[in-house]
Amino acid sequence: MASAELEALFKKHAHDGTRLVQALHDLQQMRGWLPPEDLASLAQGLGLTLAQVQSTASFYSFFYTRPVGEYRILFSDNITDRMLGSEALMQRLCEALWVEPGHVSEDGLVSVDRTSCTGLCEQGPALLVNGWPMGRVDAARIDAIAQAVRTRQPLDQWPRAWFEIESPIHRRDWLLSTTPPAGAAVEAALARSSEAQLQAVIDSGLRGRGGAGFATGQKWQACRAAESTTRYVVCNADEGEPGTFKDRVLLSTHFDDVIDGMCVAAWVLGARQGFLYLRAEYRHLLAPLQDRLAERRAQGLLGAGAFGGRLDFDVDIHLGAGAYICGEESALIESLEGKPGKPRIRPPFPVTHGYRGQPTVVNNVETFAWVARIALDGAEACRARGTPQSAGTKVLSISGDVARPGVYEIPFGMTVREVLALCGGEGAAAVTTAGAAGPCLAAHEFDRQIAFEDVPTGGSIMVFGPERDLFDLARNVAHFFAHESCGFCTPCRVGTAVNARLLDKLDRHHGSPYDLQEMGRMHRLMQGASHCGLGNTASLLLHDLQVKFPEAFTRRLHSTDYEPAFDLDAALSQARWMTGRDDPGAHLGDNLSAHLGQPWPTGAAPSAPESEPT
């Protein structure tokens, strides 16, 4: 028999197994982690098998199936955080707290670890304390955190200012320059027929702002045509691409536009229920956004009988739990249904078989904001900006080696060089335009245009100055994908792990051209053979860096011939340590990595044992 508090939890989630991810969040809030006996109760209470609950609980990074520290400090591990010194800061905190990264301190007080990009790249280095984000961390802050942890200061008594998140918008174009009254766009749509509103979205040329650029009107049309009486509208706010944070800023500053856009979609599609899938890293936005939804309901701008009874549509915010893959729309839907976020076999596509098997439209935050503006200003207003194939503007998240990191709204067609001039990144040597999942442009490509037909982008623009070692970017990205691969298909699951291992080998100065070829082989395999977009794009940046910046790799090579991963000389290090020897006779060859694995560097060897070993 489950305890009263668990019974209340089951009731809150209507004993509905598709609410599992949300129920796990609640359980973890209650217990601090997810104890096995509670998972068993949860399975019973939600009508699932224990294995189903375990599958989901073990899939997401922010669910803990083992006890964690009272304070859980996660350093954002995007390359931009690293460029701002996150690794040294993490080391400093670990030393201050006597804890190793990835482990809970022996007294159970604190754990320190890395996490995938938290979407605070313009105010990095960033970290999360028990899920609460903190930007612009420096050494003094680290020392203060260590003090607060050591003295067990409750988190709600930590200075509020530490957790203040800025929303810097440095360039506004059509979308961000005005804030129309909440609901105005929906009123405009309701004044038209749903067919006319659909036609306006089609005519506007609006394409998905998540990065793939699929025509929004076409998506809606397919969903509308699918036979069903129940349709769903889903807003993808699982902004997981490293280096992007514009959806965080949009949700913080233009949330009503986004909800209005969802309402317009609901009007066109006849949907009654919508979901906003919010990535767990943006948990700090959950309460304010929920409050705003409640206000809208009170104002008659959402929910049953909204807009004078003309639109019956409500939005529920669903919190993710730390999985990049859930940005893929079918994985997102799986997660909405309480399952591990593994992309479905497609076709059928979500527009015909989505949430609970019903026709579902999934669009990006920025896309919905655009929908609202199209409803208000008409299709032509969108067409008036951008290029013929890429209508309108794009909201960019710019971080890295620039003077003014932040959000920039630009018309499609602007060149990379012009974008760099805007943000003070003129000296750049390289720019990534699709986070971890796209190319890296070299300086000679800066005259290319930000547009779906030239340089498509979901909005992540990371800038690298000439002093940066792009190998660090490659290795960071390889580990990111190895960590974020859902594990469903062989090429992505194992291929991303092989790539991460190859880059570690190169990092140890232990690689050879053979290893570079192996990365090429993984690239050819993963492209095409992978199940979804994650696998198909996971090797793109590595490949592009190798082609355009080969010296970042070649200067790390140990030899120009084959080099095994196993290092004979390093393997002897323990024997050397035990015998106290470090003379040339105790070494094999001139292996550059010979010092690796030794407990101390050469020169600091222990004093020789009293009796010489024979």
């Binding site: 068993a40 599958s55 960590h483 062989t490 291992r501 199940h531």
Partner: protein, 240 residues
């Protein structure tokens, strides 16, 4: 002439609703695969059945057949990819064929032979995967699991027991057993379950019958997998 597509230049008839894999198999053609099984819903995860349909990569087990498709199957390019996929599977788990009871009956091993895989090529991951010997009749040796989920599907779809599931993410993905202890002995799993028969590799093994059939006389010792895995009326492949 009924509907047909071409597979490596040969016409393959199909009935509407069939996948490329189903139609090809029925016509006696072998498309390499690990996670697909004629009796269960397609999974599409192993990617061994990746073919080129009108020039685009696609998994044969999940792609609907349609008239006029030009499908490339056993090309050097595709077999090279399959060889790499097999090598990745071999290094991801702990596969020691010479000491494995499933040797000669193993789909992974037989497919590797068929694809001409000569070595694992990549560095081994050597994962730590303890066995589950709790059940009186069945041993679970997770070392060999390739995450095909055939046992998951069989236990759910046929046996109605849902004994198995996958947990974890990425290379941490692993097979779990649905019981509070996590052990097979604490489930209603039985040797007569379909799930007990379906493992393509050596994870689900019947106890006390090890090596009853000598190596050399087992399924894929007698005939290559491209012959074994298509129905008896298979003809085109015999000469291959």
């Amino acid at each position: 002439m009924s509907d047909a597509f071409t597979l490596d230049g040969q016409p393959v008839p199909f009935t509407p609703g069939q996948t490329l894999m189903q139609a090809a198999r029925e016509a006696g053609h072998y498309i390499p695969h690990l996670c697909w099984h004629p009796d269960f819903t397609a999974h599409g995860s192993c990617k061994l059945c990746t073919v080129k349909v009108n020039g685009r990569f696609s998994t044969a087990c999940t792609t609907a057949a349609s008239a006029g498709q030009v499908v490339e199957n056993r090309s050097p390019e595709l077999d090279e990819k399959r060889r790499t996929l097999l090598q990745l599977l071999f290094v991801e788990g702990n596969h020691f064929c010479p000491s494995c009871e499933k040797s000669g009956d193993c789909v992974l091993q037989a497919t590797a032979y068929e694809m001409g895989m000569l070595s694992p090529h990549f560095d081994h991951f050597f994962p730590d995967r303890p066995v589950d010997a709790s059940h009186p009749d069945v041993l679970l040796d997770f070392n060999r699991c390739i995450l095909c989920e055939l046992c998951v599907r069989a236990s759910k779809e046929v046996d109605g027991k849902s004994v198995f599931a996958l947990a974890g993410r990425g290379t941490q993905s692993h097979l779990i057993v649905n019981s509070p202890s996590g052990q097979l002995a604490d489930t209603d799993f039985a040797l007569t379950d379909r799930a007990a028969q379906v493992c393509p590799v050596g994870v689900i093994l019947k106890k006390r019958v090890g090596f009853a059939v000598p190596i050399g006389e087992r399924t894929y010792d007698r005939a290559p997998i491209r012959v074994v895995q298509v129905p008896a009326r298979a003809k085109p492949e015999e000469s291959a």
